[in-house]
């Protein structure tokens, strides 16, 4: 399964937090803050939308959860300060407005007045301040999985019920995208667990029915089977048109698509396999294939300390040659069945302004690749393999099992014969994701040679850029790339408060990576979703219509 705001299968965050196409479709009906938008008098109210997913909810406790649907659940049952629109604009949610101090270190949010939790208790800025303060307090322990929400934050206070003040130790460019991810928890339920070392915060299971402040209340959750959400009458925002929705968990996309086709579901979450698109369209389902923000990549070990047996991988000429040997068009048409675009830079074009348009996909040319390898001095050996540093150019390609089954094997079958034509042997080694990452990081990145994987970056480029920093070693870094110059630029973009200035730094960083080539970006797969034609189209926000970036899709969907 291709996933997540991160590496495939590294779950949680991922799938949801992706950026996407500027698919402005349908948002009007969801009304970025309106109550269903255009022609509301004609909207048919009620009904339960049945959604299938190949992800799962691993825990209902935000300090434990890891899987993407858990985070989507938090998005719908808890307030967040802001949210994204399908056009990837950040708009109000629980905060109606916000302002920044001139030095960029203080952010003041005005909070929706007179809001209530589903149990009738007041929902105020104090709940938000308590949530952020608690995450800060236990950031090295019990709340460590949420520490990203409060990066550089010094304090969170609520001078009154409708004002939240967040102070930072330095200007932070992406405060809004950070706080967008943070579910605000009911202090009156959770405060009793935030004592001592905070360990109790992780023992609280937060079972359904959950005291909720979002548009829906989670009324029932049966692990590995279903989660049922009922409309929350106490919600501070626009009322959803549906009475509720259900989320059924599937282990395979085949079963999921079969259930949709046989009417057991009204929609399925991304990713719908490209192979199912034609049959679903033929059966009159709405199928959307929109430019996605995920990308598939070919990783070349970039640590200068790598073993002598493959140290030639650091040679820029070799990297250029490998880049030219990837037939991106063939991969898109064969592995993705045309549902994607050839890849170029690590910030996908679908994220909008952050992607550097001057970086183009490297053209496929085996002649150029051969020429570059000749130039590097790697002469062809008797068995058709070039010799580099005294050994044949034969490399192991580590691939995680979750992409191997579908996209990965097909793509490798395209790459392998082309690389053979330039005198390079690629040997596939499939491992499960946990073992694959450990294989990459083993011996401080010295051992591995090449890998193929994918990324589902967050909408804001900060996270994807952070992956290549030296600080990300053994946490996210999967290339062994480490550059002080790059790290300096990373810090600059983090603190650049003017978007134009930040864009320039981010372009510079992408150009550095495009030149150094720790990643050869192969393609950007489309985000494919399918749903019944008996319902209004769910808008996609950041690569999917059901994720933790926005409440708008389920608020706006209605029967036709």
């Amino acid at each position: 399964m291709r996933t997540v705001g991160t590496k495939t299968h590294f779950g949680a965050w991922a799938r949801s937090l992706v950026a996407a196409t500027a698919a402005v479709l349908v948002v009007a009906a969801c009304g970025g803050g309106g109550s269903g938008g255009g022609g509301s008098s004609k909207i048919k109210e009620g009904g339960v939308f049945r959604l299938g997913t190949a992800s799962t909810i691993d825990s209902l406790n935000p300090f434990i959860a890891f899987q993407s649907d858990a985070y989507t659940t938090f998005e719908y049952i808890y307030p967040t300060l802001v949210q994204y629109t399908p056009a990837l604009k950040i708009v109000p949610d629980f905060a109606s407005s916000w302002k920044t101090s001139p030095d960029g270190r203080t952010w003041t949010f005005t909070i929706a007045p007179n809001a209530k939790w589903s149990d009738g208790k007041p929902l105020t800025a104090a709940d938000a301040a308590w949530t952020f303060s608690t995450i800060l307090k236990f950031a090295d322990g019990a709340t460590a999985n949420s520490a990203g929400y409060v990066a550089h934050m010094k304090s969170a206070t609520a001078p009154n019920a409708t004002t939240l003040v967040l102070t930072y130790s330095q200007p932070v460019a992406n405060v809004l995208s950070q706080v967008q991810q943070a579910p605000i928890l009911p202090e009156h339920i959770w405060a009793q667990y935030a004592t001592g070392n905070g360990k109790a915060l992780k023992t609280f299971q937060n079972n359904a029915p959950i005291v909720s402040g979002g548009p829906f209340i989670l009324t029932k959750y049966t692990p590995k089977q279903v989660a049922l959400f009922k409309k929350n009458p106490a919600f501070y925002g626009p009322r959803p048109h549906i009475d509720g929705f259900g989320l059924q968990f599937f282990q395979t996309t085949d079963a999921e698509v079969t259930a949709l086709k046989s009417g057991q579901l009204d929609g399925v979450e991304v990713p719908v396999p490209p192979t199912s698109v034609a049959t679903l369209k033929a059966a009159h389902f709405q199928v959307r294939s929109l430019p996605g923000v995920a990308f598939d990549d070919f990783i070349i070990n970039s640590t200068p300390d790598q073993q002598a047996s493959h140290k030639e991988l650091l040679n820029p000429l070799l990297r250029q040659a490998f880049d030219h040997a990837i037939d991106r068009q063939a991969v898109v048409s064969t592995s993705l069945l045309g549902h994607g675009q050839p890849g170029s830079t690590i910030i996908p074009p679908a994220t909008g302004q952050w992607s550097d348009p001057s970086i183009k996909p490297t053209p496929f040319s085996l002649a150029t690749a051969n020429q570059l390898l000749d130039q590097a001095g790697y002469k062809m050996g008797p068995d058709g393999l070039r010799i580099a540093n005294g050994h044949p150019m034969s490399y192991t390609v580590i691939m995680p099992s979750d992409i191997a089954g579908e996209y990965g094997n097909r793509t490798f079958q395209i790459l392998q014969p082309d690389f053979k034509k330039i005198g390079v042997q690629l040997n596939l080694k499939v491992l499960d994701p946990s073992a694959a990452y450990d294989a990459l990081t083993a011996n401080n990145y010295r051992n591995f040679e090449i890998s193929m994987w994918d990324w589902f970056p967050l909408t804001d480029p900060d996270f994807m850029l952070s992956v290549l920093t030296c600080n990300s070693f053994e946490v996210w870094n999967d290339t062994g790339y480490c550059s002080k110059a790059y790290d300096t630029l990373y810090s600059q973009q983090s603190a650049a408060m003017k978007p134009a200035q930040r864009v320039q730094v981010i372009y510079q960083m992408q150009q550095m990576i495009a030149a150094a080539k720790p990643y050869l970006v192969i393609d950007y797969p489309d985000s494919i979703e399918a749903q019944s034609s008996h319902w209004s189209t769910l808008p996609e926000v950041g690569g999917g219509s059901f994720n933790s970036m926005s409440k708008l899709p389920m608020e706006g969907v209605h029967q036709l």
Partner: protein, 321 residues
Amino acid sequence: MRGADYVIKRGFFALVTIFVAITINFFLFRVLPGNAITDLSRVPHASPALRHALLTEFGLDKPKWEQYLIYLKNLFQGNMGISFANQQPVSHLLLADLKNTIPMVTVGTVAAIVIGVFTGVLSAWRRGSPPDHISTNLAIFFYAFPTQWLGLMLLILFAGILPAAGMSDPFLFTAEPFWQHLGDIGRHMILPAATLMLTSYGSYTLVVRSSMLETLGEDYVLTARAKGLPVRRIVWRHAVRNALLPMVTLIALELGFIVGGALLVEVIFSWPGIGLAMYTAIGQRDYPMLQGGFLILTVSVILLNFLADLLYFRLDPRIST
């Protein structure tokens, strides 16, 4: 006294085997490449501090031998630990999974046994005839099918007729009446149980056929025929009873595996049982869940083997003499 000796000896071996299995369960998953915190520590902007916090929380920062002693101590106190993935007690999680697994796997296995015995007897009695050829070839045909492929084919064939996944209609906000709920579970169970039945009945057919052929050649069967006893009586009362002895072992082993679930079947049909739980736990390197799940599996297989030994002792006089 011979009987008591036999039981004690077998019981002792069963206990030793369980202890060895417990030990292997501990080390087996820790020698797998990858580790428990690789997944869980990968959230955006994760830091080495998160990895350290998780290591400490799960006790993985301690030496292996110390972890092993803690594991043994907890186990002898009936504590299977807390799942790394969701921080819930493993015993509660596994109990919930077992409740889902046992009915489905039992239906599939019992159906396989019944059909296997029936077709095996039929094949042996009509050996060399077209029904024998058809039955034997069908048994081999289904036995050779990869479970996941057959499951997917059934899923596609019965799309829209039978539920594709789960164990009940999931989108009911209010509880349905008991009998209706039971019927709903039954409908959801058909495809996974049928997959299990089809892929496993063949082994019973072949074992029973072989055993029956041996039995049918015995003198007492010839005597029965000479006495003019009806065919059905000869087959079912004289031949089958004796031919089923090898089946005791096979059935005991299969029943032991019931609690292990049918991993592939549960994954294909999203059946929320123990097989699916193990599949998920392996990907997450959730050591406590894996240890707990495999402990239940090994203990049940060993105990049912022990039971088979006792049954053999009772059924086969050759063992006690």
